[in-house]
């Protein structure tokens, strides 16, 4: 007999999903003017979770008008008063965190361990953090009495639905802006639950408006003439389209786009922890992470030892039901994303890289992809250049620190990087050389609301989090 973990599913009963949801405009839920709806499914088994409204241009206009109307009073409130609302929201998120974690895992496919231990604590922390800034904006280094921008149009991705919402809404409200936010098409539910939290917190009507819809809704929102600020997190392709849309207007823009981060392991690295960092870097959230460490650069002399250890560790990853508390890797978010991952993995194989995945049984229904690594990858391979946004790791080697830097920087992206070495001076030298917005040393995918996050080059511009994150929502 062996030690097999029995199923340990988190209860679905803690979350009550309505059969349909309207748009949240001016403090009320309402159907879309055009009456259009779309379904949102659980990627783990393709079960339809709910039906949500598809916002059209009329709805976008109504939401922006509501936000404009609310802006006058909201921005005039003393910072300490705005802070009260944000603190209240943060506490409500904590109180409802179990419910929200289950909801997030259902709609997104991520394991409950991550939504419970990572997403939700960070969401609450972000609101607490920016609540603290609301009455201290005069001390943030942007002048004695910095002013908000007005109405913020915010478009967020599906990989961390509620966390990205927090990154967008918390600083915007703390600075005195009002917002119209569009969650991703495949993960609209947690934003709608957040709308309910806004009502529970007594937030004035129109300060937060949530529009569900697809890419066309997002395009309408960023193009709306009465939006003062556009914030987008998502693909570089869409980011470029948004930049073209707002070009020539006086809208302020911040973009947080794709990445192809290098996780660089030197021969003197703490090997066991480096393996954990590599696994966490690429398999966290099924690799649906813009700052994922999708390229492993390993020093030649420890290549074999490290890869053996990495494969051994990958064999213990538990892929399956996102609601099982022992699941490490959940479902791929959508059929479309799964197709993209498959296509790039196939390209990796056909271009000559060697594919390896541990033996693991994948469920029949839903969208699944086994954790995979490619060895023998060169800079010329597509899997070394293009963002896969899935649980696929490309392994490259290097001989000298200079070569590691050259390879790490040889990408149009520049969001994050990881350096693994016991030598402090090398960490500092590498951090100076790497053209990436975030450099983690001897860790990876560590987030904190006090730490600014953002990219170089085609990974975008503007920073979210920390004091720097205020700049995007202040007239400076």
């Amino acid at each position: 007999m062996t030690f097999e973990y029995a199923p340990a599913p988190e209860s679905r009963a803690v979350v009550d999903i309505a059969p349909s949801y309207g748009l949240f405009i001016d403090g009320e839920f309402a159907d879309a003017a055009g009456g259009k709806v779309f379904k949102t499914v659980s990627p783990a088994n393709e079960e339809v979770l709910s039906e949500v409204a598809q916002a059209g241009s009329e709805d976008v206009d109504r939401a922006v008008k509501a936000a404009r109307k609310a802006f006058e009073k909201w921005s005039a409130l003393p910072g300490a008063e705005r802070a009260k609302y944000l603190f209240r929201i943060a506490r409500l998120i904590q109180e409802r965190s179990r419910e929200l974690a289950v909801l997030e895992s259902l709609d997104n496919g991520k394991p409950i361990r991550e939504s419970r231990d990572s997403d939700l604590p960070l969401v609450a922390a972000h609101f607490f953090y920016y609540a603290g800034w609301a009455d201290k904006l005069g001390h943030a280094g942007y002048g004695a009495d910095p002013k908000p921008l007005g109405v913020a149009g915010q478009v967020i991705p599906w990989n961390f639905p509620l966390l990205m919402l927090a990154w967008k809404i918390a600083p915007a409200l703390a600075c005195g802006n009002t917002v119209v936010l569009k969650p991703a098409e495949t993960t609209p539910l947690s934003a709608l639950f957040f709308a309910d939290i806004c009502r529970q917190a007594g937030l004035p009507k129109g300060v937060v408006n949530i529009l569900t819809g697809d890419g066309s809704t997002g395009a309408e929102l960023v193009a709306h003439p009465d939006v003062n600020k556009v914030a987008f997190t998502g693909s570089t392709e869409v980011g470029k389209a948004i930049a073209r849309t707002v070009a020539g207007t006086d809208k302020k823009l911040t973009l947080e786009l794709g990445g192809k981060a290098a996780n660089i392991v030197f021969d003197d690295a703490p090997i066991d922890q480096a393996v954990e960092g590599i696994v966490n870097g690429i398999f966290f959230n099924q690799g649906h992470v813009c700052c994922a460490g999708s390229r492993l650069l390993v020093q030649e002399s420890v290549q074999d030892e490290l890869l053996d250890a990495l494969k051994r560790r990958m064999s213990t990853l538990r892929v399956g039901d996102p609601l099982d508390k022992n699941t490490d890797i959940g479902a791929i978010n959508s059929a479309e994303q799964l197709a993209r991952i498959k296509a790039l993995a196939d390209a990796g194989e056909s271009e000559g890289a060697e594919r390896w995945a541990p033996a693991c049984e994948l469920p029949d229904a839903g969208y699944w992809f086994a954790p995979t690594l490619f060895t023998g990858v060169t800079q010329a391979h597509r899997i070394a250049q293009e963002e896969i946004f899935g649980p696929v790791l490309s392994v490259l080697t290097f001989r000298t620190p200079e070569e590691a830097v050259a390879k790490a920087n040889n990408t149009p992206y520049g969001l994050s990087a990881g350096v693994w070495t016991e030598k402090g001076s090398r960490i500092l030298w590498m951090a100076n050389q790497l053209r990436a917005g975030i450099v983690w040393s001897n860790t990876f995918n560590k987030f904190d609301p006090a730490s600014p996050f953002g990219g170089y080059k085609e990974s975008g511009f503007g920073r979210e989090g920390g004091r720097h994150g205020l700049e995007a929502y202040l007239d400076v």
């Binding site: 007999m1 062996t2 030690f3 097999e4 973990y5 029995a6 199923p7 340990a8 361990r113 231990d117 003197d268 690295a269 703490p270 090997i271 066991d272 922890q273 954990e276 960092g277 213990t316 508390k325 022992n326 016991e422 001897n442 860790t443």
Partner: protein, 331 residues
């Protein structure tokens, strides 16, 4: 990977001899131990904490509780120990739950050397081992001949296993070879008249070693010297077994096995009091070393109060009710 041989088997000596170059001198040993990969404390603790979130329920819990009971070195190491108390503990080790004779017996009874004969007699025919602490436990502050005499005395009285403590002073001051030689000599003192050996567990007192790097180094040092088991703590200092330290020792055992093929056991001791704690340790073994180590031959808990909590949880699982501390025996 070389074929597996148990640390207490005859072939192990040959495997260790193949590593003789690294223990040839103090300098060689230091260079080797300091050449082992470093340990990032934050990362190690994070990994141990993540493994601690595994949810062990229903059938898995029932299996793990029985497994944990069978891995206990049921321990009494008090100045006030009496032969009567030791006999009571032995009786409990044989039949841990008077209400359910199907409960597995513990692995060993762990006592001071002067109680070995009493325990041996009380455990006759039970298959339960007698483990004895030795080498001036717990401080280890005695001359080597005294430590060796202490060990021989316990073995002669019938101890199946010897739990020795290392000389932390020598280790922390960098005299690695002296610690190595001492372990080797104690191992030799474990030899019985018939040529067989009592199994040797080497206690590091990790709470006194200060750094994780030291824990990895001392683990390798002890395994190179012929330890059959490596053990965290005496239970007599402020910080005893912790999940990160135990995880690190499991990793050292895994790497040593991959290098030499010699299988060494691990025993966390001190401070493990609840079923929940025990589950976390078993999960660490399962996901670091796997099935091969999930037996009383290769993993032990040094504990006294843990057993009662396991028994109460076991009763709860089988009856659906929580019986409470009046339904387990006090020792």
């Amino acid at each position: 990977m070389p074929t597996t041989v148990p640390a207490y088997g005859k072939e192990a000596a040959g495997r260790l001899a193949s590593m003789a170059d690294v223990t040839a001198s103090d300098g060689a040993l230091r260079r080797f131990l300091h050449g082992l990969p470093g340990v990032d404390a934050v990362g190690l603790q994070a990994r141990a904490a993540t493994l601690g979130t595994r949810s062990i329920k229903t059938t898995a819990k029932a299996y793990a509780i029985d497994l944990a009971i069978s891995m206990i070195d049921l321990t009494t190491l008090e100045g006030a120990d009496t032969p009567g108390k030791v006999r009571a503990l032995c009786a409990k080790g044989i039949n841990p739950d008077p209400l359910d004779r199907g409960t597995p017996k513990v692995a060993a009874i762990c006592v001071y050397p002067d109680m070995v004969a009493t325990a041996k007699e009380a455990l006759t025919g039970s298959g339960i081992h007698v483990a004895s602490v030795a080498t001036a436990f717990p401080a280890g502050r005695a001359a080597l001949p005294v430590k060796l005499a202490d060990t021989r005395d316990a073995v002669a009285a019938g101890a199946d296993e010897i739990d020795m403590v290392i000389d932390r002073g020598a280790f922390l001051s960098g005299r690695y070879l002296s610690v190595f030689e001492e372990i080797k000599q104690v191992k030799e003192a474990c030899r019985r008249e018939d040529g067989s050996y009592a199994h040797l567990k080497v206690i590091f007192e990790t709470g006194e070693l200060q750094t994780y790097d030291n824990v990895r180094r001392v683990s390798w040092l002890a395994m190179l010297a012929g330890a059959d088991f490596i053990k965290t703590s005496t239970g007599k200092v402020a910080v005893n077994a912790t999940p990160p330290v135990t995880l690190l020792m499991l990793e050292a055992v895994r790497d040593f096995h991959a290098t030499t093929g010699v299988q060494v056991g691990v025993k966390p001791a001190g401070g493990i009091r609840t079923t929940k704690d025990a589950m976390k340790y078993l999960v660490m073994v399962n996901e670091t070393l796997g099935d091969q180590w999930l037996t009383a031959d290769w993993f032990r808990f040094g504990a006294s109060s843990l057993l009662n909590d396991l028994l109460m949880q076991r009763q709860k699982l089988s009856t659906g009710r929580y019986s409470g501390p009046d339904y387990v025996t006090v020792d």
